[in-house]
Amino acid sequence: MNAIEVSHLTKHFGRLVALNDITFSVKEGETFGFLGPNGAGKTTTIRILTGITVPTGGDAQLFGRDIVKDTIAARRTMGIVHETSNIYTDLTAWQNLMFTAQLYDVQKALREKRGRELLELFGLWERKDDKTNGYSKGMKRRLTIAMGLINDPRLIFLDEPTSGLDVQSNLIIRDVIRDLNAKGVTVFLTTHNIEEANLTCDRVAIINRGMIAAIDSPEKLKGTIQSVQSVEVALDPVPAHAEEGLRGIATVSEVRKLGDKFRLITEDPPTVIDGVMAYAKAQKARVISVNTYGPSLEDVFIRLTGLDVRTKGVRTVD
């Protein structure tokens, strides 16, 4: 049985079509990523799958239970981490966790044991009796995820779990996702962070304007666009108008500036390397590093959505 089975799901808000006939399934134990830009329909999908909103058309089954007809039974198996860190800021971390546990009918002894484990796991145990209004953004996010796990779900929905967090919080959260996956928990996460999808997901669906553009493992998605490879170079000193100069090299289709380096997109890396050497010599610069890369998930994303990551605010690294 699949953990999630979605068929022909549609959602309209008035005249706006937020989801346009999406179909996909997630196998039990899989970490599945929904990758898409702002307004793509990621949160709307989660809200339908958790029974908060009803779909305009189509249906969704969670472990064989229809989310519209059998909402409560379907919800018992799931944990939900909403897009906003929705904790009660007038309550302590401990009170927040115990409250959530009671909503999910977790018995007292068990909820206290799990509560302690989760707070320790997320590095919040020492602050458990502090009101959460003083918590940092990362602490609030970690507590929100702990609350999503208090009922020991078989399936967890994570709506942008690491968006806008510092490195430490990010690492803790990614570790937790990996552990959940190892324990056989099905993870459905949304993100607009391509690198996150690449690192954590078994399979990724790329969603744009309410439609799924592709679903596959990150590696296979990359394989679909073998023609896009790249050469990354760092020059010292950086010549004036380097972007233009590098774009002039034969077979280079695009130049992206990444910090102090340049990434040259090409179908033919060897030719580009020769070109870069010649260019550097002419500009009296030294080539400090050269790396070649296969296609990235980012490239797939741009290709499929027609979005340019640099202009549409989709971040590639945290």
Binding site: I52, I72, R76, I80, E83, N86, Y88, L103, Y104
Partner: protein
């Protein structure tokens, strides 16, 4: 579902409702604006009408208890629910594995218990300061419980309106609550209300609540206690189901 599943789910729903009520109590009982609207507002309303009129404590005290319940029972949810919408914690409640009835009940329960606490103030004042005798205890207890629960559920019903600002709901609520004071026989006995307005009294839950509480102090009722109790139960059911309906509708 088998009978056992139903029983199990019922237990789960009650636990969840109680958890929701407890959470509200922890967060809202000590908030200053709640205390103002729940306690001071009814007192001032009452003084505005009662001062300068001749009246025995045995008439004024039940009226004050009824007005206190009207305002305090519906003072928590109209504040807590819009704030939960704003903080997005409301999504937690409506995505939990319980029905909306449990959510409505839990939210109402906090207003209900609050109101019982607040109503004990005029009750004790009557008892201790004025020595107002209580002729029958049963109508008082039942009257306070049912009226509190009824207006708590009404507060939850009004809070279904999808706004993130408590003021919106408070003003809608006052459009209903203030007229109720005048058409429920608190200051003006029902048979002295002129003409067509008299019929309006039958549609006010406060009429029946006030009648019951009044019976405890005067020994007489306008309707019979059985009618009062039945009407309050009917209003509670209407409010509960209407609230359940509206919360569902506004989420789609």
């Amino acid at each position: 579902m088998t009978d056992q599943d139903w029983l199990r789910q019922l237990r789960v729903e009650i636990i969840a409702a109680w958890a929701i009520a407890k959470k509200d109590m922890l967060i809202y009982y000590l908030k200053p604006n709640i205390i103002v609207s729940g306690m001071l507002f009814p007192l001032f309303m009452f003084l505005a009408f009662a001062v300068g009129r001749p009246g025995e404590p045995s008439v004024l005290i039940p009226g004050l208890i009824a007005i206190t319940i009207l305002f305090s029972a519906s003072s928590i949810e109209p504040v807590s629910i819009p704030i939960e919408r704003r903080m997005k914690t409301f999504d937690r409640l409506i995505s939990a594995p319980v029905s909306l009835h449990a959510v409505v009940l839990g939210e109402s329960m906090s207003g209900f218990l609050y109101s019982i606490g607040i109503a004990s103030v005029p009750f004790l004042a009557g008892l201790i300061i004025f020595g107002t005798p209580i002729l029958q205890i049963a109508p008082l207890v039942i009257g306070v419980l049912l009226t509190s629960f009824c207006f708590a559920t009404m507060g939850t019903l009004f809070a279904s309106y999808p706004t993130e600002s408590p003021g919106d709901i408070m003003s809608m609520l006052n459009v209903v609550r203030l007229p109720l004071i005048f058409i429920s026989g608190i200051f003006i006995p029902i048979d002295q209300i002129p003409g067509i307005a008299q019929y309006a009294t039958y549609f006010s839950p406060l009429t029946y609540g006030n009648d019951l509480i009044h019976a405890a102090y005067s020994g007489t009722t306008s309707f019979s206690p059985a009618v009062d109790i039945m009407m309050l139960l009917v209003f509670i059911l209407i409010f509960q189901f209407a609230a359940n309906r509206l919360y569902k509708k506004f989420n789609e």
